[in-house]
């Protein structure tokens, strides 16, 4: 089993292509849509998680690479500026996946990129601009 999270940026002419359908049907992958932001005639932004056998995930990725779209691993999109964090724990209960986490003592907050699904909830919560989604 392999999982891969990617951010896809689609040009206008590709927005109406059944990319997710192809990934499921032709490559036998499970696709979770984590975020989607599509503006007709402009550009689309899709955050998806592909899971399945390693071979199939790789084939799915190769299919995506063959399209005229920009692909970035999800982790690159989220930046947690640790130097700006005051470790207040304000964001912790809001994070749905535990990507933002407090230690046992409740003193230090840490960020685990792998768990982050880019839901952006913490961005609204953190008063100090610590988490940045770089689109």
């Amino acid at each position: 089993m392999k999982k891969k999270r990617v951010v896809l940026t689609l040009p206008p002419d590709l927005i109406e292509q059944p990319i997710v359908y192809n990934l499921i049907k032709n490559h036998d992958l499970m696709v979770s849509i984590l975020r989607a932001n599509i503006t007709p005639k402009e550009q689309g932004r899709l955050v998806i998680e592909l899971s399945g056998e390693k071979r199939k995930v790789d084939a799915g990725m190769a299919y995506l690479a063959g399209l005229e779209i920009e692909i970035q691993p999800l982790a690159q999109d989220i930046k947690w500026h640790e130097d700006r964090c005051i470790h207040c724990t304000f964001c912790v209960p809001t994070c749905p996946t535990g990507a933002l986490h407090r230690d046992e003592e409740g003193l230090q907050v840490s960020f685990n990129k792998d768990k982050c699904i880019a839901c952006e909830l913490c961005i609204k919560v953190c008063p100090y601009n610590v988490v940045e989604i770089q689109f």
């Binding site: 005051i86 470790h87 724990t89 919560v125």
Partner: protein, 406 residues
């Protein structure tokens, strides 16, 4: 044997004072007993680092040539309006001020990316800030417009002056309604989705001197990374609330008005903060030394999170509509554990005030005192305490008379 502040200062000067933080004193009192601990310890240091909306700073930016009187005119720092109702070139900027063009909550929830709190942080950070001022022109102050970059180092005075800081205890905010709400206690998820609290608990200054026996007007403090003073009680100072047998208030009570030289302060301890759907504020670092003059003062300073209780308040209805009533009482040890129980439901908690930073402040103040770089002051007057008969009033609204004199 009781000590005096003078004696403690003598020991500080000789590098012999025993200084512990409000966390360290807990263990010490448990180990040695409060009597012995009170004899040994000279000073307990406290700390807090949280958003405090009633904060601001005043400046004298120096006379222009020819002169302008922005007093009665307008002034803006990085587009954020500052108050000009003073003399020619004195202005005051409040932490919650927002640029005139900010959409505020018209696109809900507003982002409030920049405001007074951020201007103060930028100035303290040594950044140039755009200043635009207007005056109406007089014979002695003919100029009507000024537009320039200013820098904190060029100002005659830059003084942080906060009418209400250091709240002694605070509510725990929850949301009983069916929709998300945006408050000064943060984003609250519907149906008790989360609970936010805002106090450093056992490290918080006024919770370690609950009856204001040592902290008073003239107390020298750590303020924003520099040195400041308590100058008055804060606004809404409400010492008459319910207290535990140990004297600790179980709801918001005392407050402090503080001031200090902004030029000495640091952006690490004064941070502009944006609360989605609510507004802008300033997060302020404060640390207050408590001289251990006798055993009673030590017992107070040894207060633990378990012994400090706070009220869980619904911010969808109770708070905005000023309806009394609490959904329950929890202590800070529970709050810091990450979950509390309200109405039989387990809720995750989030802190707004940073305990980690409160600890750093208490440690840094401890080190300054140990080095002899920070001496204690004798307060010139104490703050009104639990027995002072202070009442906390709501506004009594009365209709305006539309046709005066008729």
């Amino acid at each position: 044997m009781a000590k005096t502040i003078k004696e403690i200062n003598e020991r500080i000067k000789k590098g012999k004072a025993v200084v512990v933080t409000a966390e360290e004193v807990i263990e010490l009192a448990e180990k040695k007993g409060t009597k012995k601990a009170a004899q040994e310890v000279d000073v307990v240091t406290t700390g807090t680092f949280g958003p405090m909306c009633s904060s601001g700073a005043y400046f004298n930016f120096g006379h222009t040539k020819p002169r302008i009187k922005v007093g009665g005119g307008t002034s803006f720092l990085n587009n954020v309006p500052a108050y000009t109702g003073f003399a020619a070139v004195d202005i005051y900027i409040g932490a919650t001020a927002i640029p005139d063009g900010d959409p505020r909550n018209s696109v809900f929830p507003g982002e409030f990316n920049y405001g007074g709190g951020h201007v103060i942080e930028d100035l303290v950070n040594g950044k140039d800030v755009a200043f635009v001022g207007t005056g109406y022109g007089t014979d002695c102050y003919p100029r009507k417009h000024v537009e320039t970059l200013i820098n904190i180092k060029d100002l005659n005075e830059a003084v942080l002056f906060n009418p209400r800081n250091g709240y002694q205890n605070y509510n725990v905010a929850v949301n009983l309604s069916d929709k998300v709400i945006y408050t000064y206690m943060g984003m609250l998820q519907p149906r008790l989705g989360n609970a936010n609290y805002c106090s450093a608990g056992q490290l918080s200054p006024l919770l370690n001197d609950p009856l204001y026996k040592t902290i008073g007007i003239g107390t020298r403090i750590f303020l924003g990374g520099g040195i400041g003073y308590v100058v008055w009680n804060g606004t809404q100072h409400n010492p008459g609330v319910k207290r535990t047998p140990g004297g600790v208030p179980t709801s918001p009570a005392g407050t402090l008005a503080v001031m200090g030289d902004l030029k000495q302060m640091s952006p690490q301890w004064l941070k502009g903060a944006s609360f989605t759907g609510y507004g802008v504020t300033l997060t302020v670092g404060i640390g207050i030394p408590i001289p251990i003059l006798n055993e009673e003062i030590l017992v107070h300073a040894a207060v633990k999170d378990e012994d400090i209780k706070a009220q869980v308040v619904d911010y969808s209805q109770s708070y905005p509509q000023v309806q009394p009533g609490s959904l329950g009482e929890v202590n800070y040890s529970q709050l810091k554990s990450g979950t509390i129980e309200v109405n039989g439901k387990k809720i995750n908690t989030g802190g707004i005030s940073s305990y980690a930073k409160a600890r750093e402040i208490a440690q840094s103040l401890k080190q300054s005192i140990e080095k002899g770089a920070f001496l204690l002051t004798e307060p010139v007057a104490l703050l009104p305490s639990a027995d002072a008969g202070v009442t906390f009033k709501l506004l009594n609204e009365r209709p305006l008379r539309k046709t005066r004199g008729k």
